[in-house]
């Protein structure tokens, strides 16, 4: 069970790495067409924008599992152990509530947009692109459930050491 979960997170991590590489590739192909072949690709900026959303959401699932999202730890660290655990459980429930809203309303969104296609690429149905919202939300609920079990059984958040603010973009 534990192995399956760790494997899922690892796969999502590889997937996110792959997405950033594809994004780099798409931008470079776009540059090549625009400046070398002198013929701007009509689809490349819209498509690259889609990849960015996918990277954001699937990467956020991994970030959640590995405790990499930025949060304000100073106050909670001052609480006694018991209080810390209560706050931790509350935090996980908050993230799960967010995920439930994104999952249900994301599903609604897909149904409403069933016939729409991407502006620059008529072959792509927007429903496929929007699928990232409910799928990543479902994965976040899964991660939240595992963390909830671990926290209640006293194994600590994500079974790893507390994250530091190192991994972040500014």
């Amino acid at each position: 069970m534990r192995k399956a979960y760790d494997g899922m997170v690892a796969i999502l991590e590889v997937y996110s790495g792959g997405l950033i590489l594809v994004m780099l590739g798409v931008v470079l192909v776009g540059v090549f067409y625009r400046y070398v072949i002198n013929e701007a690709l009509s689809w490349y900026d819209e498509f690259a924008g889609f990849i960015l959303v996918w990277l954001t959401m699937y990467g956020s699932v991994v970030g959640l599992a590995r405790g990499k999202h930025i949060s304000f730890e100073t106050l909670v660290e001052k609480l006694p152990r018991r209080g810390q655990r209560v706050v931790e459980i509350f935090g996980i429930l908050c993230v799960m509530m967010f995920s439930v809203v994104v999952l249900t309303s994301g599903w609604e969104l897909i149904r409403e947009m069933a016939e729409e296609t991407a502006v620059s690429i008529p072959e792509i149905k927007m429903a496929w692109i929007y699928s990232v919202m409910p799928i990543s939300a479902a994965l976040m609920i899964l991660v939240g459930a595992v963390q909830l079990v671990r926290t209640i059984s006293g194994k600590g958040l994500s079974g790893e050491a507390r994250p530091k603010a190192m991994e972040e973009g500014q």
Binding site: I20, T56, I70, L75
Partner: protein, 427 residues
């Protein structure tokens, strides 16, 4: 009324250690549920729209370029070059840190990346030479913020996307303030080196400089690619970011031959994670921003402010105070996305150039990266130096004051930033 609910939810959930990216969306979900005027289905749509903007693609690409610079051996060469240039001055290693941070800032738009790349090399070296560790960390942390003033710059990219203005113009406006900031930090280091007796490095020699230049030739080609692209108006920030990442890969793999598959893949995954973390904040800030704009908060704020005073300089001062407070408690990306759309109508009414305002906001939020409790760059440096945040904050205080002075300078002497923009765009 609902504004207070939002504020209360954000503060409460943040204090309870809920990640900020989720907090911003949750606050919106709470008020939308209470009011019931907008459908919840708008939430995923807004998150999607907040993250799928083409200009924002520059963020992952510059994060990638910055990460690849370190694994490709480019950062080390830039530090060596800085050492050959300014190491001979009293307080040599502090000078090297500042100049290296400026070089690094020409490639990466991220102060966190700069603090990590340069801090790892410089802090141990400074300790060996007898600099107090907290002092070294203070210099590294504050000098790193030059990276978001000197183009490229992630906060500038986000600002331009929010204010719908030219990223390139904003980039150009940062060049001179960045150099002034670096110069002021170097003067300050010289003063400390004199009074506290910090050593100089090896005497200046043309031979050593020549060797460092030769060894760092390819490393220097990256800023040439970036600045050439930006100043020449050839490519967009996103395209330049892609080219910079490509250049780092080519130089690291084929010219310096220091980039191997293992490090390459690790950098890719790290960059993907950093992107997701920052972009989630960007996307969910957009959700809350959409709600606040819908509620007419920008107009109300403009009215309230103009009712108080119509003095442009006073309002700019008040906005600086507001951004300073926001920067203490919010990540800079969130601060820009939430606050900029709210104050922009006011700014335009006052006749302030959005480029001028963007530069002011960027440097102001740079100060926020150094002020606890939420101080991303300071925290990164402290993790490397293994010191407490307050310790480094105290010793780095004078360097942070340089950034404060710089904020006031660009606020009240707009030409500091705009002169070069007008020069470049004159013909």
């Amino acid at each position: 009324m609902m504004g207070w609910v939002v504020l209360f939810t954000v503060l409460l959930l943040s204090a309870l250690n809920v990640p900020i990216g989720f907090v911003l969306a949750l606050a919106t979900i709470v008020v939308v549920m209470i009011q019931g005027t907008a459908p919840l289905a708008a939430i995923p749509l807004m998150i999607f729209g907040g993250a799928s903007k083409f200009p924002l693609l520059a963020i992952p690409l510059f994060i990638l370029a910055g990460g690849l610079m370190t694994t490709s051996g480019i950062s080390t060469r830039l530090i060596n070059l800085a050492s050959a240039l300014v190491g001979f001055i009293r307080g040599g290693l502090a000078m090297v840190t500042i100049v290296a941070s400026m070089f690094f800032g020409e490639i990466s738009g991220s102060a966190v990346a700069g603090a990590a790349a340069i801090g790892q090399v410089v802090i141990p070296a400074m300790e060996k030479k007898g600099y107090p560790k907290a002092f070294s960390a203070g210099v590294v942390s504050n000098a790193a913020t030059l990276a978001i003033i000197i183009p490229p710059s992630i906060p500038m990219i986000i600002y331009a996307a929010m204010a719908d203005t030219s990223v390139v113009k904003l980039f150009i406006s940062g060049v001179i303030p960045g150099i002034i900031g670096g110069g002021m930090m170097m003067l300050l280091s010289y003063y400390f080196a004199r009074t506290r007796n910090y050593p100089a490095e090896a005497a200046f020699s043309l031979g050593a400089l020549g060797r460092a230049l030769k060894d760092g030739f390819w490393a220097l080609m990256i800023p040439v690619v970036i600045w050439g692209g930006i100043f020449g108006g050839i490519a967009t920030a996103t395209e330049v970011g892609g080219l910079a990442a490509l250049a780092a890969i080519v130089i690291g793999a084929f010219l310096y031959r220091e980039l191997n598959w293992k490090d390459f893949w690790k950098t890719i995954v790290d960059s993907a994670m950093q992107t997701a973390v920052i972009m989630l904040i960007v996307a969910t800030s957009a959700v809350l921003g959409w709600y606040l704009t819908n509620e007419g908060v920008p107009q109300q704020l403009a009215q309230a402010m103009l009712g108080l005073t119509s003095n442009k300089y006073l309002i700019l001062f008040l906005l600086n105070v507001a951004f300073f407070i926001a920067g203490c408690f919010l990540h800079s990306a969130a601060a820009i996305i939430l606050v900029v759309p709210i104050v922009l109508p006011l700014i335009k009414q006052l006749g302030v150039d959005p480029i001028h305002f963007g530069l002011m906001v960027t440097i102001n939020l740079g100060v926020g990266q150094q002020t606890p409790p939420v101080a991303t760059v300071l925290m990164t440096t402290c993790a490397i130096a293994n010191l407490s945040m307050w310790e480094v904050f105290r010793t780095g205080f004078y360097y942070m004051m340089v950034l404060v002075v710089l904020t006031l300078l660009v606020t009240y002497v707009p030409e500091t930033g705009l002169w070069l923009v007008n020069l470049v765009y004159a013909n």
